[in-house]
């Protein structure tokens, strides 16, 4: 448990998250308009999205399927009957004057997610519910000093709101939760998880208490749009609340905004000004009834999810929990690893992927899909090491050449003559040459001083331009030692 040190002792922070995930669908939740990102303003707006008189919503079956898929992926209850409600408020980017959402009877009920924390600990976070709702449009206030422009392209786009229990106890845990949720959504293909484009947004409910004490008033931080900002926002907010209480003040229930430039949260509106949303069942829509067989069919079509994949990787490939964790975080990474590891030294492949490859891709700003080294080629490189064709040191050079050219390891090795020297005579010749050039160290070796062996191996490898088989060099030196 990570506690925060205050003037009056230690504090515990209590966090629950509400995540808005844009559902991957061709069209909107209740209309046929497109959901593609980045179109010219007001070009993806149907008569329904603009709330023209007499227009009616019709549920998009694909969005329902995606919500069910997500619920199943979160091991949550699927409610075979759910109800759409109207959440009423006035705003120019809300054409109907209400948002269609699910209030008392959401499509997905309780589920849970197990977080693997650094250091090997785990934390189980309860999922309270998942419901479907419409997104609003976008108000643009900075184009004109007196006017607001409205873009309705997003109006009516399907969102899943995924609400957690207040089960997280640090900004780190919240970050791990959000990263894992995003990973699961991407595995499922139900949300692209792109936080920059706003496909995934997060509200954090934060309160502090003395460990084991009663919960205090919480604040809600709205619309955090990166995992890094989430961490910063929670840390700032927890400290603010602790200081407030320690100074004799009281935390007011309110909605706060995170200012990523200043790294602080600030008040948006307090509860006294909260809307009365006048929720009631939308009479334009019948209750949503799901066929249990349909749900079973969706369940059968679920992909292997990160937790299962991680366990399988450990079992099937004998790699460490840490390496498996890193590899399964992104579905594409896991698939790359698996292809590269099949029939090769999987542990070595895991090391190459999580070390050299991720490092290089990171430097180049590329995703795994654009990796110049294809999975099969990486397997080939590892094979050359395993069978003694090249040494580990040479392998790094070969890897760099592969990155640059995208060619196969074996071709590069053959072309550059990097094949490891395993001819005893040839290696002995280099050994003798090095010993002759370094009489002092040669003498030490002969007198049985083994400490010098390491230095000599280095010199010999250098002289062979890395091609000498290091084990054979060691063997020859050992024989000469104490000669």
């Amino acid at each position: 448990m990570s506690l925060i040190e205050g003037r009056s002792g230690q504090w515990e922070v209590v966090i629950g998250l509400e995540v808005h995930a844009q559902v991957v669908t061709e069209s909107k939740l209740f209309s046929g308009a497109s959901t593609a990102f980045g179109a010219e303003p007001n070009t993806q707006v149907s008569l329904v999205d603009a709330a023209m008189p007499g227009m009616l919503p019709v549920i998009n079956a694909r969005a329902v399927e995606q919500a069910v898929r997500t619920g199943l992926g979160l091991k949550a209850e699927i409610n075979l009957r759910s109800v759409f409600d109207r959440k009423n408020y006035f705003y120019p980017d809300l054409p109907q004057g209400y948002q269609i959402s699910q209030y008392l009877q959401p499509i997905v009920g309780k589920g849970e997610m197990v977080l693997d924390l650094p250091g090997g600990a785990t934390r189980t976070v309860g999922i309270t519910r998942l419901h479907l709702e419409q997104d609003a449009g976008k108000s643009i206030h900075d184009r004109d000093p007196h006017k607001t422009y409205v873009d309705l392209n997003r109006s009516g786009v399907a969102l899943m709101e995924i609400v957690s229990e207040p089960d997280m106890r640090s900004a780190e845990e919240a970050a791990v939760y959000l990263a894992k949720l995003r990973s699961i959504l991407r595995y499922l293909g139900t949300c692209d998880g792109n936080m920059e484009e706003g496909s995934l947004r997060c509200d954090a409910n934060v309160s502090v208490r003395k460990p084991g004490g009663p919960l205090n008033t919480r604040c809600e931080i709205k619309n955090v749009n990166s995992i890094r900002f989430l961490r910063q926002a929670i840390d700032y907010e927890a400290r603010r609340q602790i200081e407030l209480i320690e100074d004799g003040g009281e935390v007011k229930q309110e909605t706060r905004l995170f200012d990523s430039k200043k790294g602080e949260t600030r008040s948006m509106r307090s509860k006294e000004f909260a809307h009365d949303y006048r929720y009631f069942p939308d009479p334009d829509l019948l209750p949503l009834e799901l066929d249990p067989d349909w749900v079973v069919a969706i369940k059968a079509s679920l992909p292997e999810l990160p937790d299962e994949k991680k366990r399988r990787f450990q079992y099937e490939f004998g790699i460490s929990a840490e390496a498996a964790e890193v590899l399964v975080a992104e579905r594409e990474h896991a698939e790359y690893f698996e292809e590269a590891a099949k029939g090769h030294d999987a542990k070595a492949v895991a090391n190459w992927v999580t070390g050299e490859l991720f490092g290089a891709l990171n430097r180049m700003g590329k995703g795994i899909a654009d990796s110049p080294i294809k999975a099969a080629s990486l397997g080939g490189l590892v094979d050359l090491i395993s069978d003694g064709t090249i040494s580990g040191r040479i392998a790094k050079d070969v890897f760099d050449a592969m990155l640059e050219t995208g060619r196969e390891a074996s071709d590069i090795v053959a072309e550059k003559g990097l094949k490891q020297v395993t001819d005893t005579g040839a290696i002995e010749a280099v050994v003798d040459q090095v010993l002759a050039a370094n009489p002092k160290q040669a003498e030490q070796l002969r007198s049985g001083d083994n400490k010098v062996i390491g230095w000599l191996v280095g010199q010999i490898m250098k002289a062979s331009r890395g091609k000498a088989n290091p084990k054979m060099v060691n063997d020859i030196l050992a024989k000469k030692a104490g000669g």
């Binding site: 008189p53 007499g54 109907q96």
Partner: protein
């Protein structure tokens, strides 16, 4: 009255089919009559050029042998139905000048069946009213007058323009909509037939919403048969309305004229309300006797939650309306009163755009949905609504249809009740229960009041059994021998 405006839909259809009549002549006669009857204020927009073009197209179609069920028949369209390119206001200032770039499903179906549009008919603002006095475009006059009294009386509402137009023979039929009685009550006041179908029978797509769980489109005509023909052309499942029912559209007209021997007709004791005029009570008894004389079996039934129907309706309907009308905010279409601040723009636009009755209902609806009041009002009303529906379910285990008066009085004078909303709301006491239960109901003119104004009898049927309603309605029509205005 010209000879041509004397025709009913069925007769005109047969003359058109035989080639003895052209839609052009029929339509032209109605346009002339429409223009001569402007004092009624039944139409808010006349579309004579379009009507003649529609008529010519119809005549051409007929020659090629491809005529639909309503081909060449000139009708009025309640201004609640969005008509592509033709101003649609729902009787409200806030939608003045609004020309929808789309067509409602009901009107699209009618036009596909060949109907000719004469114009858009006046109505209570957003269908909120029982006298057509809340229209932003002025009240409609009922073409009927009290004997010896030339003061205009109301046509009922909210489909007052449609009812007056059909009664005055300036439309052969008209579309209407019923939320709590808006088809049946004006039909009764104007001495015509009005049919509210089962909820879900006609698509609500493109119909300006008042209360979504109650709104239902239906026809007005001068005979039961004509109403049946018109309903057949309006109804049908529509993918664009999630509450529209995926059931086949039967041949409604075939039900008209079938005998009613052995049909069990429920007479609900709770409809004998306090202060009901004796002439209404007498008409009801007469209706019962007519049906009995034709071989039906009257059965006393109980609908115990009837007395809660009106208060339930006046919670549910305004609640939905308060949300449905939120879209008229001055941002995208319709009226806008500019102001420096957003809140002021909303308040000024909606304050000026909506009339007092609409504002009243928005306030009531907002109130009953508010935190702290929701359970006591809206939720309780929903529970009572379910009980009312159950009353009907139980009753329909014993009977095939229910007979009741349509309205508790004849038409009243313009201005008489406009200051007393409760008195106005009481007009719907007999129509609201079937609306809450989503059941079909027809009002058939059955006689005249002592003052010489029309009175209607209502037949309520099982869900999606409009055929039975039409069958019984046709018998009442035949027995009553009501004389329409000529």
């Amino acid at each position: 009255m010209s000879e041509l405006t004397a025709l009913g839909i069925a007769e005109a259809r047969d003359l058109l089919a035989s080639g003895k009549l052209s839609s052009r002549d029929l339509t032209a006669a109605h346009i002339t009559a429409m223009e001569a009857a402007r004092h009624l204020n039944a139409y808010v927009a006349e579309t004579p050029e379009r009507a003649l073009a529609d008529a010519d197209a119809s005549d051409k179609r007929r020659k090629s042998g491809a005529a639909g069920a309503m081909d060449g028949i000139p009708v009025g369209i309640k201004d609640l139905f969005c008509t592509e390119g033709v101003e649609t206001t729902a009787g409200s200032r806030i939608l003045k000048g609004f020309r929808p770039p789309y067509e409602s499903t009901v009107t699209a179906n009618l036009f596909k069946a060949g109907a000719v549009m004469l114009g858009k008919t006046n109505m209570d603002e957003f269908a909120m009213g029982s006298s057509n006095e809340t229209s932003a475009f002025g009240p409609v006059e009922n073409p009927w007058r009290r004997q010896g009294d030339n003061r205009p009386v109301v046509p009922g509402g909210s489909s007052g323009g449609s009812a007056a137009a059909v009664a005055a023979r300036i439309a052969m039929g008209a579309t209407a909509s019923d939320t709590g009685g808006s088809i049946r009550q004006p039909a009764a006041f104007c001495g015509i037939v009005g049919l509210k179908p089962t909820y879900g029978r006609c698509s609500r797509y493109g119909m300006v919403a008042f209360a979504s769980s109650l709104d239902q489109a239906g026809p007005m005509a001068r005979s039961v048969r004509d109403a049946a023909i018109m309903l057949g052309a309006m109804a049908g499942f529509d993918l664009r309305d999630s509450t529209s029912a995926e059931v086949p559209v039967p041949d409604f007209e075939a039900a008209v004229g079938k005998d009613i021997k052995g049909l069990r007709i429920g007479i609900p004791k709770e409809y004998r309300v306090d202060a009901m005029p004796p002439e209404i009570e007498a008409l009801w008894a007469k209706g019962r006797a007519w049906l009995e004389g034709r071989g039906a079996i009257p059965v006393e039934i109980s609908l115990p939650h009837t007395k809660y129907a009106l208060p339930t309706y006046y919670i549910v309907a305004p609640a939905e309306a308060s949300s449905n009308l939120a879209r008229y905010d001055g941002v995208r279409y319709g009226m806008r009163k500019d102001a420096a601040e957003l809140e002021d723009m909303y308040e000024e636009t909606r304050g000026a755009g909506f009339g007092p009755e609409v504002r009243r209902r928005i306030l009531i609806g907002t109130y009953v949905l508010s935190a702290g009041y929701y359970d006591a009002y809206y939720l309780k009303a929903q529970r009572v609504r379910a009980l009312i529906a159950r009353d009907f379910d139980l009753a329909f285990e014993k009977v095939d249809a229910i007979l009741a008066p349509t309205a508790p009085s004849d038409a009243f004078a313009i201005g008489d009740k406009s200051d007393d909303p409760i008195a106005m709301y009481l007009n719907d006491v007999f129509t609201v229960p079937a609306s809450l239960a989503g059941l079909p109901g027809i009002s058939v003119p059955a006689g005249l009041s002592a003052a010489g104004l029309p009175l209607g009898l209502q037949v309520i049927g099982k869900a999606f059994d409009e055929e039975c309603v039409l069958r019984v309605g046709a018998v009442i029509e035949a027995e009553a021998k009501f004389r329409a205005l000529s």
